[in-house]
Amino acid sequence: MPLRLTDDFKAKAARVCAAYPRKDAALIPLLQELQREKGYVAEEAMDALAAFLELPYARVKAVVTFYTMFNRAPVGKYHLQVCRNISCHMAGAPGLLARLREKLGISEGETTRDGLFTLSSVECLGACGSAPVLQVNEHYFEKMDERTLDALLDDMRHGRLRAADF
């Protein structure tokens, strides 16, 4: 079913486009906007956005698939992204991942049945100084260990997401 962009979105898009000399430069900010609205960028949304920006569909799809921060399928309420690059890896990221897998009963790329959690492993989050790092939605949780991880999961299960205290 073809997706129709909302008037609200179109109004925002017009403002974003106005900030750039060329319309196609607005592609990434508008994809982010779409993801903010729905939590992910659906295939139909790429189609609609391509038509809106007068870009070939393949161009939009290429950008969405290039950047791993764009979700191409619905994600849970909390998107847990564990950094797996070298600093985090050496500081214990594999243990965090294993614990999350075990406690949530899902592996990377999957979402729990209650729709609460999606687990991903991601490339460097740029916070090596406080490894290992876990990103939940748009918040960083740094220097994670088993205790802080369990506490964080507990909080989220109760609908509270607050920056961990160190």
């Binding site: 295939e43 070939p56 569909y57 393949a58 161009r59 799809k61 290429a62 698939t65 290039f66």
Partner: protein, 491 residues
């Protein structure tokens, strides 16, 4: 203008010329995958790395403009090592498909491996990234993503030449692959060029796949007769069978070749190819067919007309003019075709589907004759009892023929070309089988060269005309195509 040296040889080039182009002018071939002279520079394959003295790192020759005083080295140890290493990278995930790959023999990876690497792989075959193979994408192409080296020539072709932008590189790093919208076909009228420009076996032609190994193919330079553009082409054939037609890039008309033009060779070896004459609907041998045709012509007692054809060569049109003037002794003949000409899609395909309207006008200039409108009116009035023409040209007079009821005698190469109601049809050799002169929409002379030989008894059209004239009692003395060209100014 920058003066540089390449491997010690000095050269002066205009501003903006890249090192790769400058080297080409000196006859130095720098290996490349992603660079294509008619596409934008991408610089992603890294195969064209060269050394510049006093520069800290190697640079890509395809994207570096020559600057005054550069001393470029294309064969230094550093460059050789770089080429070997780049090839190693490109081959890490390349499947060992060569024995079953259609590109083998004209593959950039094979060629450069032999030339620049010859190193044994350090990566086990079972660790190679696996991807989808044999994806049929559109009417003409098959994509094998495993073989792809992501040079993006195909992506740039679709966005810059056809401007259809179907293709893109999806995902990133070693997940990347070429893809297009799900459910969409790659059918932009020029898609087979992608199989040509693909430096590896990722894109192959559905028509050509597995028909013939490329090293068996013989190549004949000729001309595409698909429309008035008159692209230069090369016919690849073996043992009297044509396997494919590819473009012969040139500055005047074409770098590419459209899909329709590439398929024109199909008619030559189609099942309905005529080797005999046809009277009404029955096939009969050539000699009786000629005799029958000649007696119908004699019966008409001068109420005859001849129409040339923009699909025929200058020689064959001239032979038809001689037939009209010297054998049939009629003034009702026309070689006046004035279809609108010009490239209609901004790439190659011409508004005029016939290749030789300009050539036919040269014949008109040499032999005279009436205008097309006059001839058409005369045929419609019923004053013409027999009309001699070529099969596709007969369609131009369809309504007039219906009104006037003239008997139609046509020359045709394929049975499917014969217009309904034709009384007699005589076969002739196609321009893949016989030389012919054509004049394209720019007024450039285009000559076809035979790639294959015609079936026994099938002769060029001028020779058939010569025979027909003999049967009706006149000798035109056409012994060769050159005889037919006499008195015609091709310029």
């Amino acid at each position: 203008m920058p003066r540089i040296t390449i491997d010690g040889r000095p050269i002066e080039v205009e501003k903006g010329v890249t090192l790769l182009e400058a080297a080409q002018r000196l006859g130095v071939h720098i290996p490349r995958y992603c660079y294509h002279p008619k596409l934008s520079v991408s610089g992603n394959c890294r195969m064209c790395l060269v050394e510049i003295e006093k520069a800290p790192k190697l640079v890509t020759a395809c994207s570096t403009e020559a600057a005054d005083g550069m001393a470029v080295l294309t064969m230094s140890e550093k460059v050789k090592t770089a080429r070997r290493d780049v090839l190693e990278f490109l081959l890490i995930n390349h499947p060992l498909d060569c024995p079953v790959c259609d590109q083998a023999g004209e593959c950039g990876l094979q060629d450069y491996y032999m030339e620049h690497s010859l190193a044994k792989s350090r990566f086990p075959a079972e660790d190679k990234v696996r991807r989808q193979k044999r994806r049929v994408l559109g009417p003409h192409l098959v994509l094998d993503n495993e073989r792809c080296i992501l040079c993006t020539r195909c992506v740039r072709f679709c966005s810059e030449v056809t401007r259809t932008s179907e293709l893109e590189v999806m995902e990133r790093a070693d997940h990347s692959f070429i893809d297009l919208k799900e459910g969409r076909a790659l059918d932009n009228g020029y898609s087979l060029n992608i199989a040509d420009i693909c430096p590896v076996g990722a894109w192959t032609s559905r028509d050509f796949r597995f028909k013939q190994r490329v090293w068996f193919l013989k190549k004949t330079p000729t001309v595409c007769l698909g429309c008035a553009t008159g692209c230069l082409t090369e016919v690849h054939h073996n043992e009297n069978t044509i396997y494919r037609v590819v473009p012969r890039p040139n500055a005047e008309t074409n770098t590419w070749l459209c899909d329709a033009g590439r398929m024109t060779y199909k008619a030559v070896q189609a099942g309905d190819r005529l080797a005999k004459g046809v009277i009404k609907n029955g096939l009969i041998d050539l000699e009786p067919a000629l005799r029958e045709t000649a007696s119908r012509i004699d019966e008409a007692h001068g109420a005859l007309a001849v129409l040339g054809s923009p699909w025929l060569s200058v020689e064959d049109n001239a032979a038809l003019a001689r037939l009209a003037k010297d054998a049939l002794k009629t003034a009702d003949f026309s070689f006046d075709f004035s279809a609108e000409q010009g490239v209609k899609d901004g790439i190659l395909i011409n508004k005029d589907p016939a290749p030789n309207a300009a050539g036919a006008r040269r014949v008109q200039a040499a032999f005279g004759g009436t205008s097309f409108a006059e001839l058409s009116a005369k045929v419609a009035s019923g004053a013409v009892k027999v009309l001699v023409t070529e099969a596709r040209a007969a369609a131009l007079l369809k309504d007039a023929l219906k009104a006037g009821g003239a008997r139609l005698i046509v020359f045709a190469a394929n049975r499917s070309e014969i217009p309904a109601g034709a009384y007699a049809t005589l076969p002739y050799a196609s321009y893949f089988e016989t030389p012919g002169t054509f004049i394209n929409f720019q007024g450039l002379e285009r000559r076809t060269q035979p790639a294959v030989t015609a079936a026994e008894g099938v002769k060029p059209l001028w020779a058939m005309v010569n025979k027909l004239a003999v049967y009706s009692g006149t000798s035109l003395r056409l012994e060769s195509a050159q005889d037919a060209l006499k008195g015609i100014d091709l310029k």
